[in-house]
Symmetry: C2
Subunit: 298 residues, 2 copies
């Protein structure tokens, strides 16, 4: 424990009658980002988003972040400063303090591990395991924009993308306010953040809940990216990761507004009793196979 903290542990106060939420996520050079593609501010921002998005997916309130950061000896201090600027700007926006961490010399590449600690009123965390047959499936925002930007960089390795024009990839927003409102209103029976792609994350919900799902291809909110804006393909919206939107299920009889906490919400399908995931496209039903998300290969 060596980062901005005087004691061996950080001491955090949790609101009365709350439970603690903890999540930990790697952000590794060559696996989750590339120095030649991602400006340091984007790496810091995306690092914290990974953790905050997990808190959002539980309907939780973030309290504090802990950053373990191993750096190559030859990394310029300006890069470290810019990484921390990206991370701390986002932390400030959500009132999260950087309460500790560890630092080390890296044996190879920039290695970050982000830990988020949050809280949620006792028994109110929104789990993956509570989806029931008949529940409708919703997602926030648009899907595929982040993965499409990555694919573009892979295919045009000599040209850089302007991070501001592709904010969905470089500066994704964790949906904390949306998660909180869904929990407060008791709307969502199950929830997950879409970090590994819609097909993979929906599969996690189905597996944990012991159910299946049926999606309507035409309903999936496919992202538009770039300038001029172009729609990404359905494949990347179904399988691309790192959008950090929320996927949630809603029991029959509960109505969901078109926007919640300022975010557009789209009804994309429903939960089924059979344990398969199906995709209905132009009247044709096929099985939807989760593809797993890998950042730099497809």
């Amino acid at each position: 424990m060596g980062l901005g903290i005087g004691d061996d542990c950080a001491v955090l106060a949790i609101p009365p009658r709350h439970q603690v939420l903890v999540t930990t996520d790697f952000m590794l050079e060559g696996i989750h980002f590339r120095r030649e593609w991602h400006p340091p501010e984007s790496i810091g921002h995306r690092c914290l988003t990974r953790g905050l998005s997990d808190i959002a997916a539980m309907g939780g309130e973030p309290l504090a972040a802990f950053l373990s950061l191993a750096l190559p000896r030859n990394l310029p201090q300006s890069s470290v400063d810019r990484f921390l600027t990206g991370l701390l700007n986002l932390a400030g926006k959500f009132g999260v303090s950087l309460a500790g961490g560890d630092t080390a010399e890296s044996p190879g590449g920039i290695l970050a591990d982000i830990v988020l600690v949050g809280s949620v009123p006792k028994g109110k965390a929104i789990l993956r395991s509570r989806a029931r047959p008949g529940d409708r499936i919703y997602v926030s925002g648009e899907l595929g924009g982040s993965a499409a930007a990555l694919r573009w960089m892979r295919e045009h390795s000599k040209r850089k993308l302007d991070p501001r024009a592709f904010a969905r990839h470089f500066f994704p927003e964790p949906r904390l306010q949306l998660g909180r409102v869904l929990r407060e209103k008791g709307l969502a029976s199950a929830m997950i953040d879409i970090s590994d792609g819609l097909s993979t994350d929906l599969a996690h919900v189905c597996e944990e809940s012991g159910v299946g799902a049926e999606l309507r291809a035409e309903a999936i909110p496919v992202a538009s990216i770039g300038k001029p804006a172009r729609k990404v393909g359905l494949h990347v919206a179904l399988h691309g990761g790192e959008d950090y939107e929320l996927l949630f299920t809603v029991p029959p009889g509960k109505s969901v507004p078109a926007r919640v906490a300022g975010m557009p919400i789209t009804h994309i399908g429903h939960i089924t009793r059979s344990k398969k995931m199906l995709l209905v496209e132009k009247g044709v039903v096929r099985e939807l196979i989760p593809q797993g998300w890998q950042h730099f290969t497809e």
Copy 2:
């Protein structure tokens, strides 16, 4: 978040009127261990000890561990299993669950980051910042044994040490019971674990408390290691890291037994008003300079 957990976050219950303790520590190949020196069980054990020892140093109770683990693609599964065996055996001994974490492919070497979450009754955490002039300084156990084993391996790079004969280095014990008893009895004014070496960790206490210290060289409990057992040098006991013993200060008028929670306790000096650290050896006073601990160089 991908390790043995169904949701985006782990949900932990904290005892009523307790605060949460959080600590995070790297364990990186080539920085904190070497695969040719350290059996996988030892790496897993030492990884968890780093975190548990931080909880001990606050007088806390460990609740749950989170492990972020990035592995090279070619690492044999048996090594991963043995690493986890070492970690889980120690976790079981202290009733700590492995509640989550993350996994990734490593861009180079085995990379672990261990997070420990614990709790302590509100306001009762033992901090580094509460040492006062006149307080006596104590350490548990013996010092220098871990660093001496590392030095031996560095100097005899072709021969291996038997981990069982050098348990102080390969399987160090976190002093959780000692930390808890010191907190319950209200004995310690300040505490830290000796992970970076006595000189460096005492300097942290002095800096955080705005005080100095005077140590008696003859009083320092120098470790005996190997078979037949040999005493390590004073230098390594003063500056060697990773013993994971506790250093604590006790206000005047409070008496400390020779053993607490089964651990021998040694009075090695006292806190002073001047902000220097001094070492008295055979009647000669010299300044004690913290040397910082680096695992594979001195």
